[in-house]
Point group: C2
Chain length 142, copies 2
């Protein structure tokens, strides 16, 4: 059966309710994809990394990203593909924006800990804010 296109509302609903996606990057036309936890908040996708890894190196050279989220239920699948531009930051303000987004979603990550600005400042963390440039979604039966 041919897949069906999802509406923007359905794409947004899937992005808003999932917790894990896959981030694709590219350098010299060599693609790279890894799983990442995320939050979709205020129209942006927030990720975080330890910094200094392969994904950080690639994104600092080529900020174009593709982020994919999917859901499988029995033989039904749906997926959203976002084309975006990543901004990486180690600023305290970016860390606070990210933590507020994660906390707002009650993600229960990091064992539910609360962090003070001082904790965040010390935390070796890179915040990724992905601006959504285009979004498509599909659903179908496997």
């Amino acid at each position: 059966m041919k897949p069906r296109e999802l509406s923007i509302e359905d794409c947004t609903a899937l992005l808003s309710t999932s917790r894990y996606g896959r981030l694709a990057l590219s350098l010299n036309d060599s693609p790279y994809v890894i799983p990442m936890s995320y939050v979709f908040s205020a129209g942006k996708i927030f990720l975080h990394s330890r910094g200094g890894g392969k994904k950080d190196e690639i994104a600092s050279q080529n900020p174009r990203v593709c982020f994919e989220v999917d859901r499988m239920e029995k033989n039904q699948w749906s997926s959203v593909v976002v084309y975006g531009k990543a901004s990486l930051s180690t600023d305290l303000k970016a860390k606070m924006r990210m933590f507020e987004s994660f906390m707002g979603k009650d993600m229960k990550g990091h064992a539910g800990k609360q962090f003070s600005p001082e904790d965040l400042e010390r935390m070796p963390m890179t915040v990724w804010e992905i601006e959504v440039l285009e979004m498509t979604g599909r659903e179908g039966v496997w």
Copy 2:
């Protein structure tokens, strides 16, 4: 907690037991990632597509791919990232190789139907055989 590297044996085990992965491609350093069902058989990753879609167009111009498979169990995750080279074909022989791989895995796709060579020949399908060039895996706690 810092993620731990997986051994080649663990990577192969995860690849062999999963049914869905995410395929990343790139054209002009613009990455693209989509979910795909697959089979890992005889050291290759087999996928199939209807042909003529965006992924087919990209891969025919740039065969470098990255294929990712992951597993989440409670707060434990593991993932394998494969760097490979895709060969696309609509040959009957390639279709037969792919169907044999899928059938060997008892995938129960396509409602468990059996197909004759005549059925396969008529089927509008592109077979993707991904040669594994490099493989890495990690596991950790979220």
